[in-house]
Assembly symmetry: C2
Homo-oligomer: 180 residues x 2
DNA sequence: ACACTATCGTTCGGTCCCGAACGACTTCCG
DNA sequence: CGGAAGTCGTTCGGGACCGAACGATAGTGT
């Protein structure tokens, strides 16, 4: 059973966590320690991994699509053709990674690359009809599972969760790109 | 600029998001759609990626440690030697992945494997003195950055964020292992 | 004792992912 | 014009990561 994240026996959550807090602060005693920040960060990461694995297993693997491949395809489905750097940013991956994902997507006939009309360096990415159809087929199931994993959250909680995470993202975004 | 996650111009957040909601619901019109669930799930994943990348770039890369390698080392530092399956669970990775991470950690002299006294299948993993020293050196900086990325959250918000994520984790945990 | 079953950690195939280096192309400026 | 500097997408090296298959060890029942 995890010592930072609760396991199946939720009645022990608080006790386990206080013990974990004691353990950690004891290990680094004599130093100021922001345990709430540790907990927030570590839970974000654990939740993301768990959700991603769940989705890939339950929803995506029958279609042989990875999380990233699906996200890219989803973006193309909803917002249509676009340049690859924008697509990469939208999907939250680097350009190098997008190349690989796009190669896979193209090989399977879900998307296609095209040359930019005036700028020879750029690439325009479009979804194919097959790609759009696939997203339309997967998305209802995907969204259903999104609802499932957040089932124990009230509607207010979900909005609140999204809001808090958005705050973190904005913090990372604005001090990540720093001064121009 | 992302259409689901806000970019630098935070004053447009709400407008952008409502536009995104319209876009998405329009793309899948005629079907019930839980946009709050989509937002929550997608933000969890984005925040995790952003935080992980930030940490690996700013804190871990000087030590040539990946996120997972550091988490494993951290667990070993705080809770000491333990069997590998427990360590894997604690670090949130699978056994197969732990083998790779452990090989790296062992090669660099941060941890070591030992045979279980009675059970020949099991392996006991311990941190080395060098491994402990490394964690002690990194952790203050790491925690400082954890505080930084959650800087725009109030102490209450941080606890709330951790709590909401814990709920999601528990949901995934309990219906993931199902009935015995 | 001895098959049968369960449970370890490891290996393997495949994908993802990043950052850095690279080549192709464009833009800027003399 | 034509080189210099900048900006694209791609390639590459290396690690992470999963799930499935595997070999070794332990327990179980007869």
């Amino acid at each position: 059973m995890s010592r930072i994240v609760p396991g199946a026996f939720s009645s022990d959550d608080d006790a386990q966590m206080r013990q974990a807090e004691r353990d950690v602060t004891h290990a680094f005693e004599g130093q100021a320690f922001d345990f709430a920040a540790l907990l927030a960060v570590s839970n974000v990461f654990r939740a993301a991994t768990a959700v991603r694995n769940h989705m890939e297993r339950e929803v995506l693997s029958p279609h042989q699509l990875s999380w990233s491949a699906f996200v890219v395809l989803f973006v193309l489905r909803v917002w249509g053709k676009q340049e690859s750097h924008q697509l990469a940013r939208e999907a939250g991956i680097t350009g190098g990674t997008l190349t690989g994902v796009l190669t896979t997507l193209e090989r399977r006939g879900f998307a296609k690359r095209a040359a930019h009309p005036t700028d020879g360096r750029r690439v325009i990415v479009s979804p194919t009809a097959k790609g759009r159809r696939t997203v339309d087929q997967i998305m209802p199931v995907f969204n259903h599972h999104e609802a499932l994993v957040t089932a124990d959250l009230s509607p207010t909680d979900r909005r609140e969760l999204a809001r808090l995470l958005r705050t973190v993202l904005r913090t990372l975004d604005t001090d990540g790109q720093d001064v121009d």
